[in-house]
Amino acid sequence: MKTLFQTCMLICTLVVLSSCGFKDIDKRSFVVSMGIDQSQENEKNYEVILKIAFPSSEANEQGKNFQLATETGRTIAEAVSRIKAKTSNELDFGHMKIIVLGEKILERDIGQTMDWFTRRRDIQQIAFIGVGKPTAREVLAHEPKGERLPSNELFLFFGETGTESPYVTTNYLFHFRRNLEERGIDGYLPIIEVKDDIFSIMTMCLVKKGEKPLPLKDDETELFNLLNRGYDKVSIKIQGVKQHFILSIDQLSSSYQILSTDSQKPVIKYKVNIKGNIEESMVEIKEEKMDQYNQLVEQVVKKRTEALFKKLQDSHYDPLGFGLRYRANHSGDENVKVKEWQNIYDQIRFDVNVKANITGTGVIE
């Protein structure tokens, strides 16, 4: 009887002591996306924008139920703690899936900016990260029509549950950080713009610690994503002298080898295999001429790929991680290897070998 009483008392006291860990879901403010801009008053300060969603009991059309909380501070943590004082509920970063960096922030030391994200335990490392053009605020403030949740449209863009497009570059926070820290590979970020009231994510930029970011054009972005992630379900434009058609790719795979013997000039042998069929043509397509078409595809893709690689090489960017491969394949002191690679990369030659296989003309003759 006595022990029963004691346990009852214990439980009663424990109920009163439901600690700070316990916080009901409706007493939390969910930050769905976060933007970081440069402060307008002081160039050195950050302006942090949090998009806080309000849950409501009606399931549909919650897209407009949000609040943009903005604060400036010397550091991100400072700004966030100020925002905390402005909201009635507990700020919860557990569902923050989008991080948008303002264009101007990229010109600063990116390592310093990313520091806060890597230290906080409640930041999901699987958050998508991108660049807001011209500012992060503009991207966050945009309310697309018919959005079910605030920022849901961006989740769909990047999460590939919705659209799958080779123009949309997806990068996760953990991946971005890894690329930044690792020697031999560089980071890349998609550029998010709001054009005519809709999101436009067509281009990307390459990011490296301590250097200016390098923006890529939309066709370069497309090709980069194709090679980097082996995207299929893509159409590319093939333009020759006589022919002009669109190839819809069903399968694309690429592999490469770095050959750097002392006697020869170092070479990266890059192989691309494309399988697909013709989606649209400006001129008549003949089944017999398939070999010609294949050759044309090979030429066009080779030319584009080599141009992209040349551009990357000239600006000393290496987002595909050739350097990392070099380091992995060679033994020796890491610092020496990194230096070696920097020399090699400047003079390396790209030997792109494309094999195209058009399986059909898309029509039954």
Partner: protein, 449 residues
């Protein structure tokens, strides 16, 4: 020798008379042909009266000779020899006819049981498979088992009667070739030791047989299905039968026995595997869902998909109490509904479910006491709890989920994980008549072959 026998009757007769004189249904009768005399005593309500006339009255007058009649009585199939006067009284209470011929006491068992009808299976029903369960008569039950298990090694042993007041017959049934002799010994030892004034159900006997007084999980299986009994006999298990009960106890058992239904054997392989996995899924839902709800909504909402997190948050907005009170309130309501529908007469049973389930659920959300999601969770818990085929186990799991809920309320999802580990530890520590309770059978079939 002669002196002693003479005293048998003299000792027994006054004892019976003093014990039963005032009872109306006890028959004292003297058979008298003029020359020869014999006395017959029995309790008329529990004796097969239609046979009494044929077995005793007629032969007595036909033989008209006490010697011959005595040897006739001794060769009756139900004849039992006299032990002592206390035993005689006990036998009489179990439907034995006592004959006092000259100086000797003869006992003839002529028990008559009213409820020998074989009942329909109502607790463990199957769609295809035997539809009849056991009866409330121990002999009928043994008959049913014998008809399902034709094996010469089938042994039926009478255990000492259980309960100082109820004095109920108990039989231990096993296949002597398959069974582990140690287990039989263990069971009999336990039956000897079991002392309770009244034992009327298998669950009660189970309670009396286990060492631990406070037990949550059943370590012996209570079943009403003759096919399950036959199957378990073939697996070397022991069946403990109790007089007056359409249920038997099976020992030793493992946890997985409680999750199996006889239907598993009657369905095609993949169907039964599907049903089995469904059952474990149901077990998981009914055990973990309420506490997982509290843990996820109040400690780690980032586990959910954002869309779900928002709809939960949205539906919780009008709820004034923290999530654990909401869960507790709704679960208690559901338990009451379940209890009520067991106790209610069948004719008004559906009223309770309608009032409780539909009106209460609807009104509780509209009043803002609980969230919509909570109603779904409670319904899922209630339904999936009934998927567990053995009733005792589903009751145990019903209690268990509150322990997990309490742990999760105080410590979050970590508590749920630790509670689950503790539950597994506890189950491992249990034993069923000396055999491990939570035992995996991995590789066992390979060893045998």
């Amino acid at each position: 020798m002669f002196q002693k026998k003479k005293s048998d009757v003299e000792r027994v007769k006054p004892l019976i008379e003093s014990n039963f004189k005032s009872t109306q249904d006890v028959n004292f009768q003297t058979l008298n042909t003029g020359k020869e005399k014999a006395e017959i005593i029995y309790i008329s309500t529990i004796v097969d009266q239609s046979q009494i006339h044929d077995l005793f009255y007629r032969p007595f007058f036909e033989y008209a000779n006490l010697e011959k009649f005595e040897s006739y009585v001794q060769s009756l199939p139900y004849y039992k020899s006299f032990v002592d006067e206390q035993e005689t009284i006990k036998e009489m209470l179990h439907g034995t006819v006592v004959l006092l011929i000259q100086d000797e006491v003869h006992l003839v068992g002529l028990r008559h049981q009213e409820n020998t009808a074989v009942l329909d299976a109502s607790v463990e029903t199957t769609i295809i498979g035997p539809q009849k369960a056991l009866s409330e008569d121990i002999n009928t039950n043994i008959n049913l088992i014998r008809h399902r298990y034709h094996e010469k090694s089938l042994k039926i042993e009478n255990a000492p009667n259980i309960g100082s007041k109820s004095n109920i017959e108990v039989a231990v049934v096993y296949d002597a070739e398959k069974v582990d002799a140690k287990v039989v010994e263990e069971v009999q030892k336990k039956l000897d030791k079991a002392n309770r004034p009244i034992v009327q159900s298998a669950g009660e006997l189970h309670r009396a047989l286990t060492n631990k007084k406070k037990r949550l999980f059943p370590t012996m299986l209570v079943t009403e299905r003759p096919d399950r009994i036959a199957y378990n006999l073939s697996q070397g298990k022991i069946i403990i039968m109790i007089e007056g009960l359409p249920f038997v106890l099976i020992a030793p058992t493992v946890f997985f026995d409680f999750m199996s239904s006889m239907e598993d054997f009657y369905q095609p392989y993949w169907v039964s595997k599907f049903l089995l996995s469904l059952r474990y899924l149901g077990l998981g839902i009914s055990l973990f869902l309420p506490s997982a709800y509290v843990g996820v909504t109040s400690y780690n909402p980032e586990v959910l998909r954002i869309q779900l997190a928002f709809s939960i948050a949205g539906s919780r907005v009008p709820v004034p109490y923290p999530s654990y009170l909401e869960v507790l309130f709704m679960l208690l309501m559901m338990e009451m509904l379940t209890e009520a529908s067991i106790r209610l007469p069948k004719t008004i049973g559906s009223t309770a479910t309608t009032v409780g389930g539909l009106i209460l659920g609807q009104a509780a959300t509209e009043a803002g006491l609980v969230s919509n999601i909570m109603i779904i969770i409670v319904a899922a818990v209630a339904i999936s709890n009934f998927i567990i085929p053995i009733n005792e186990m589903s009751f145990a799991m019903r209690v268990m989920k509150y322990i997990l809920l309490a742990l999760t309320t105080f410590t979050g999802l970590i508590g749920l994980v630790i509670g689950t580990i503790a539950l597994i530890y506890y189950l491992v520590s249990l034993d069923s008549v000396g055999h491990p309770y939570l035992k995996l059978f991995y590789g066992e079939s390979k060893q045998q072959s």
